[in-house]
Symmetry: C2
């Protein structure tokens, strides 16, 4: 495995040996290590000193179910702190097939010429791509596939990233070449845009999976884990209903973001629930799919494909976070409208969570009526047309709140809260507040803990453990849903790592990786200027009770400081 | 003297004794002390926990030349840190006549009803003012004066503050009842707007100057200082040319902000210089005045009144910072255009420095051509019409840069750099970087130090001394120009304070007040989440050389940490 460095100023690519400090890390942990080693913490996130880093997780490359995720990171243009955002699809697998442990995109261009970066077994080179700029992601991805061949992996930005909007993500192809697996959070698409890099094209046709030091041990552990994963009830649930199965659970907890986080329950929840979604897809048929894998070999297949009444695909996948933020959070109970919003934002290359929250703020300011889907689509069209209002929305919820004079803005460290209201799910509120990543459910969701989620006590420990585990999984390249299998397959992670690398890993390697990652991330944030004062939920959530339980977020500040 | 607390939720006003900790402070120093004592450092600046504080300086109330300034402060909506912004006019004098050492506006309203707060010798009361909302500052001030009588002092906000725009200031009447003395910086107008407080009306007709403990000593010191002040050459210069006399000096140093800080010299500087301004005003006559006092008793009279070709007043005063930011910084060399921009921004209740910088950023993005004054006026009209673009501009330079995707944004801690480019005036650059207030020339201007301003060495000490002295003067309520007199009148400050209060002040009381104030401010900022990482100029100013001297800002980071 090597480190590849792509310099967008000189437009060359160099290959290096992996330094010993970086060797036993991958994914999120490696990104944190690289940030501390190479990026000045106070640098302008969109300036020449920031770097955009791709790092497959430690387990990536062997088609273990749900374990081929690609982490992308850098100093976040949205939060100003450490950022790692991971996605499924084929990018992680193909980078690993080329022997790339980390790809660092460095420096700043001297001109405004756009390029793609082509990576194959010969190395890397920049090719001009001005003719591909300004189009939507779906069109651009198709054009690039036509130009570079059907077997490629691809990471690209859309108009949002090209315009350096702070809600812009980076999109990857899924196993069926749909550019829908998104490194969505923290504005990494803007960082890519600041490098004038339209896409990374990965041709791994001459590559191969990385070698196994102990193939027998590895295969045994893989089998053990996969069996346990298949036995989990969640595996069946996610296969049948997708992540949308969370909708009624969240509504039941009174934690469903509704009309800009003003209620935890939504009268239209049933209409946009996992049940409703499944029934609709089965009824419509055509290009609908109730279950679909984003990565080759996934046993869970939580993805789906949403078709319109004529059976023609609108968007794939339609996921819970999107339904929560663009549905209930906007008072919209129509899955077709939500699917069209989702497609439009994917095509712009923007984070549906961040924009959903921004639209909620816009609705609160009177720019749209809650429940008016056509108006929401028109506001997204403002982003596409790059109007001043569109630029505001494209910079996310915090920015929109400042622009429109709205105080009820659901963000932590400048990043939008996802589809679990922290006043009714306080452990996840602790995660939002204290994660070095800013508000992010994937940093440590606590909804499955068997506790009273309204009770402020004891939540810190639950969140801390969840954050450590998730930082570990993100370092392995493992999907959050893999934990249902690994939790029942003790030793499997250790054996997979020993089988792959031969190093002597302890039993609690997941927690060790997670703790190390969080320490590195916190060190970077401190050096970037963050302090305990940033580890807080928005003040109004500590004052304004959330119906139906009418609770505020009241986890003690001293407890938050102890995470 | 008393502390008055006005609660905008209960709409009542209470009077309290001054606590011993607050007694020997005033103005900026007292505001810092109150922030630390009463405002949660991490609170939402526009939420219920922030307070808006008026505090006359320690010397206010006796009509000592240039020493009756009013400090206003709170947690800044613009920077998120400590904020004090002081102004001339009659507000400080009249508050002191009522015996008010500090006025704290507290809590948050439960409704959207606007009020004025009427203060007189009977106490304070809220009166409804919905009919006065939505108009420009000049109209509103006139209406309030009609309603409450001609002798009042007044602090009010315009549409900018009412809409909680982050560049909004608070305007005070000058001695001729023009609402043009502005607590301009840091968004305090937005903070006042968040309290739904349109204006404070002060009727001090039954009040009186505060007593003197040793009137003889006081009068002797006042006379000594005033004589020394009158002897200074700067007093004559400012009387004849106003602050615009800085224009050619700054251009000569290569430090004049030109076309969004891309050059330090402007080919049109002569046309907008102090000479040109004076000649034009003398030629036009009518309502023109080349010299004018903002406070009763001022010996310097640096203000002026700018009339159009027919002799009708456009705006009063027209000052250097405004000419720099709205003139050279926008490539505009026409004083009439600059005066019209100035009037429009005063009428909106917005900071001309912040908006000038924001317009420079907008020009860089292509939204206007540099030099196109009519387009600049049209953009200001967008603010008045409250369009999305107008809301963006009204939130200042940093916000506009993010909205428009411009990286060359001249701000520190979110606040715009004033009309001295720090790459050619490095001591002032150190002030911008390290002042707890954010970029602000009044926090420690170094242009009169006899050093090579391009040399990065030795600037830290010059800036440190300037910052301490200015924090001291701001605590006294003394105008920055008073220092020309006090510097030549050793012991005068001590004697004035002893004559007024009787306390035993040491010779270096100015420096002690300044040091204490800065310590308090830094303590608040640390608790609010600021660290050394925030004490930096924008990264691009450390990379991009400034013509004509082609220097970057290269004061060592370790030196900055030592301020």
């Amino acid at each position: 495995m090597q480190v590849w460095r792509a310099d967008v100023r000189k437009r060359d690519v160099r290959q290096e040996r992996v330094s010993p400090d970086w060797e036993q890390l991958g994914g999120r942990g490696l990104i944190a290590r690289i940030l501390l080693d190479e990026i000045p913490p106070t640098c302008d996130p969109l300036g020449p000193h920031n770097k955009l880093i791709w790092a497959p997780g430690l387990l990536v490359g062997q088609r273990i179910s749900s374990c081929d995720r690609i982490s992308v990171g850098g100093k976040s243009p949205l939060t100003g702190g450490v950022k790692e955002s991971n996605a499924g699809g084929t990018t992680g697998l193909m980078l690993t097939y080329l022997g790339i442990k980390a790809l660092l995109v460095e420096a700043a261009p001297m001109d405004n010429v756009w390029h793609v970066l082509l990576l194959d077994s010969q190395g890397g080179r920049f090719e001009r791509a001005d003719d591909l700029v300004g189009f939507g992601v779906y069109h651009t991805a198709e054009k690039i596939r036509q130009r570079y061949g059907a077997g490629i992996a691809l990471a690209l930005i859309g108009p949002g990233g090209q315009r350096q909007m702070l809600a812009a993500g980076i999109q990857n192809l899924d196993k069926d070449d749909e550019p829908s697996r998104i490194n969505a959070r923290g504005g990494l698409g803007a960082l890519m845009g600041s490098k004038r890099l339209l896409a990374i094209v990965i041709d791994a046709s001459s590559g191969a999976p990385p070698p196994l030091v102990d193939a027998d041990l590895f295969k045994r552990a893989q089998k053990y884990y996969t069996e346990k994963l298949r036995e989990q009830p969640q595996t069946t649930t996610y296969a049948e209903y997708g992540t949308a199965s969370m909708m009624m659970m969240c509504d039941g907890f009174g934690a469903l973001p509704t009309r800009n986080f003003s209620s935890g329950t939504f009268e239209g929840a049933q209409a946009i629930s996992g049940d409703a979604l499944r029934d609709l897809l089965l009824e419509r048929g055509g290009e609908s799919q109730t279950t679909h894998a984003c990565m080759p070999g996934c046993a869970i297949r939580c993805s789906n494909s949403f078709a319109d009444a004529s059976g023609k695909k609108i968007v794939s996948p339609l996921e819970y976070e999107t339904i929560g933020l663009l549905g209930s959070n906007l008072g919209i109970d129509d899955l077709d409208v939500i699917a069209r919003l989702n497609w439009a934002l994917n095509d712009l290359g923007l984070d549906t969570i961040e924009i959903g929250a921004a639209l909620g703020v816009a609705a609160e300011s009177g720019l749209m009526e809650f429940g008016n889907g056509e108006r929401a689509l028109a506001l997204v069209e403002e982003i596409r047309r790059d109007t001043p209002l569109g630029r505001t929305l494209g910079n996310g919820a915090a920015f929109t709140g400042s622009a429109l004079g709205v105080r009820r803005v659901p963000v932590v460290k400048g990043q939008a809260i996802s589809a679990y209201d922290p006043r009714a799910l306080k452990g996840t509120g602790v995660t939002y507040a204290t994660s070095p990543q800013g508000a992010d459910h994937t940093a440590g969701l606590t909804i499955r803990a068997k506790v009273n989620h309204l009770d402020p006590h004891g939540q810190v420990e639950i969140s801390r453990n969840a954050q450590i585990n998730m930082a570990g999984y993100d370092t392995l390249g493992a999907c959050t849903f893999s934990r249902f299998g690994f939790a029942d397959a003790p030793g499997a992670i250790r054996d997979l790592l020993i089988g792959r690398y031969g190093w002597d890993f302890p039993d609690d390697i997941l927690q060790r990786l997670g703790e190390e990652t969080l320490q590195l991330e916190r060190a970077f944030n401190r050096a970037a200027g963050f302090s305990a004062a940033d580890d807080r939920l928005p003040e109004w959530m500590t004052i304004e009770p959330l119906p139906p339980h009418n609770r505020v977020f009241d986890v003690d500040v001293d407890d938050l400081n102890g995470v």
